[in-house]
Subunit: 382 residues, 2 copies
């Protein structure tokens, strides 16, 4: 299959590119390095050094064989994205090309504007590039479980049947997100659904939970192929961040009461989900929405898991509740469906002690690179 | 009260400005004349000549007394909108500053991009200008009944309580609009709701139906103060357009079966609704949503009303069903609530024969200015 990956320099983009290439597909990767610029501006560099796409592709070619094509460019530039889609003629596009940090989107006007403009424009331009140059191409869009927020009713997979005053209809599940970043994903879904039903596009919108992990079959071939591993308050997701805190001897910072519950998944499962979506495209005119996570934990659960595994490695891990910099419910109902990807064949990699231990051991090798000042929250929601 | 009106050159903006000024308020008006540029580009000029804000303000001052301040500028320019909000210090902002044409938004990429970018950025910048410079200011935003689409269940006023698997929660009513323009209003609502609940803004989002009419107390003082009256396929709403077709001897063009049902209101009621919203602001942190229309008609109903009133004026009015250029249900359930504005005190002006007759008589005076080629649909949804 011909697979175009937008945002291929990201935590998930590069591992996705390698996995598709190794599975024998033609892969074209694109990034404008926005995340690297933001990381540099906000002192939020990743733990390990990560070469850019040209160099990573060359390393991959040497250790795994096979070419991963790449282009530097901005999906907000319509001529650029049209040229890529027209010339590469993808059968599927994996769209990761969004500003992915909730805290960054909450800093101030300019950061919020960058997030709104970049994320909406990239999605909009991709829709139109596909409409004009690859009408049958399957768009695989990364949404987030955060689109749903934490409603007091069960979360379904994207859609809900509502009976009201004796009549019935089916709707997009109502969304109410906790940051501007997450809200841009809500807007993306609205926009995609409009163009899908109006022009018959094929779209899979994956509502993904926070991802953790460093190890994938391809990343394990060479340390220089590791995903960008962020532990800072801007880009670091909670599990990755807690592991670095455990290694650095910084108490695990639980925001508020710690009852915030979310669906999590291993980076290996992200790759499997994307591959399953690509292998099973929706029909034209279908917006297929899948909830992409394998198990739910509260923040308190995660802190306890990391503390316990850390103790086995003789790390003295403390847990500390701090003022919540975010505006969110700290105790809430949470029961999200996630059967769609299992039905497509997903075999989950759960968050076992072995998985956490292997991650801690890997992070320990990079202990000297940890910058403690990047860990504590530097952005507040008010 | 100090009232800022964005998009004050529009069909509703200018009448709103005059009505507030005549009621004794301080009024500041802003427009970038985007609609005029689009009208010129698409050969969709209004029926009567309409001076720009500087000249209209001067005429108003002469015939009614009282100043209406004005500035030319783009709400997508954050420095501009901040300066206006900071210096004028409004207690309420009426936000009409959006590209208002559904067909325009469906022409091609560039028109869709202009619509998405202009509408979202204007709303986003207004939110931030208020956050930074007038935190307690009441934002009165014009949404559209089109945000809801035509669901098979009753349409509530903005919100819906959902019981699901034995649990209950309240959500924004699910939205599914019929054009990109209408979809930008859905995105606006999502964006406003995020900032309202996160930062405690006060917002009224008015889900307005198609407006008809030419006569307001202030517009009737001088023909040069009339609203921009569009009868073209780009900006003309269906009632205004049918009246012009009746006068021009062009058969009333019903799109498809004509069972498309919407909630309509007289322009006088728009002014009353905005005044009622301004006089009764929501509390901080409340997104109040009101459905703004007074009666529902199908397109077939409207065509028959105009035909019948035309006959009384000896106009031979034909009705002609044509291929629907839009993608929409032509027969559907439609039962939208609209009690909120009535409870605030709205006294509706219904679409009586007298109202239609007066409009026809006014249009007859401008018969020679009608350009028939502007009437038939020039944009298709596919």
């Amino acid at each position: 299959m011909r697979i175009l990956i937008l945002g291929a320099d990201g935590y998930l983009g590069w591992p996705t590119a390698m996995a598709f290439r190794r599975a024998g597909h033609h892969v074209f990767t694109v990034d404008n390095y926005l995340r690297r610029r933001i990381a540099a501006e906000t002192d939020s560099e990743a733990l390990m050094p990560n070469p850019r796409l040209a160099e990573r592709s060359e390393i991959f070619r040497q250790v795994a064989g096979g070419e991963i094509a790449h282009a530097e460019g901005d999906c907000c530039d319509f001529d650029f994205i049209c040229k890529v889609v027209r010339e590469f003629a993808p059968e599927a596009v994996v769209h990761y090309a969004e500003q992915p940090s909730a805290p960054y989107s909450m800093i101030n006007y300019q950061e919020a504007r960058t997030t709104l403009s970049n994320n909406l424009t990239a999605t909009f331009n991709l829709i139109w590039a596909v409409l004009k140059h690859a009408r049958d191409c399957h768009i695989i869009k990364l949404g987030t479980m955060g689109e749903y927020g934490t409603p007091n009713i069960d979360i379904e997979e994207g859609w809900i049947e509502i009976t009201h005053n004796g009549r019935r209809d089916k709707f997009l599940y109502p969304r109410q997100a906790g940051s501007l970043y997450h809200t841009t994903k809500v807007l993306d879904t609205d926009l995609l659904w409009f163009y899908v039903r109006t022009y018959g596009l094929r779209v899979t919108d994956l509502m993904q939970g926070p991802v953790y992990g460093l190890s994938t079959d391809e990343a394990d071939l060479d340390e220089r192929l590791l995903p960008n591993f962020h532990y800072d308050d801007i880009f670091g997701t909670v599990v990755n961040r807690f592991l670095v805190q455990a290694v650095a001897g910084v108490p695990l910072t639980v925001y508020g009461k710690g009852g915030q519950t979310r669906g999590y998944l291993n980076i290996r499962d992200t790759l499997a989900c994307i591959a399953l979506a690509a292998a099973n495209p929706p029909r034209p005119g279908e917006l297929r929405i899948l909830n992409q996570f394998t198990e739910t934990f509260s923040v308190n659960d995660l802190a306890e898991r990391v503390r316990s595994v850390g103790a086995q490695l003789k790390l003295a891990v403390e847990v500390k509740h701090i003022d919540n910099p975010r505006k969110e419910l700290e105790e809430h109902y949470y029961n999200p469906a996630h059967s769609g990807l299992l039905q497509l064949g997903l075999q989950p990699h759960f968050m076992t002690d072995d998985v956490l231990t292997a991650m801690l051991e890997r992070v320990l090798r990079y202990r000297d690179r940890i910058e403690v000042k990047r860990i504590l929250p530097r952005v507040r929601w008010n």
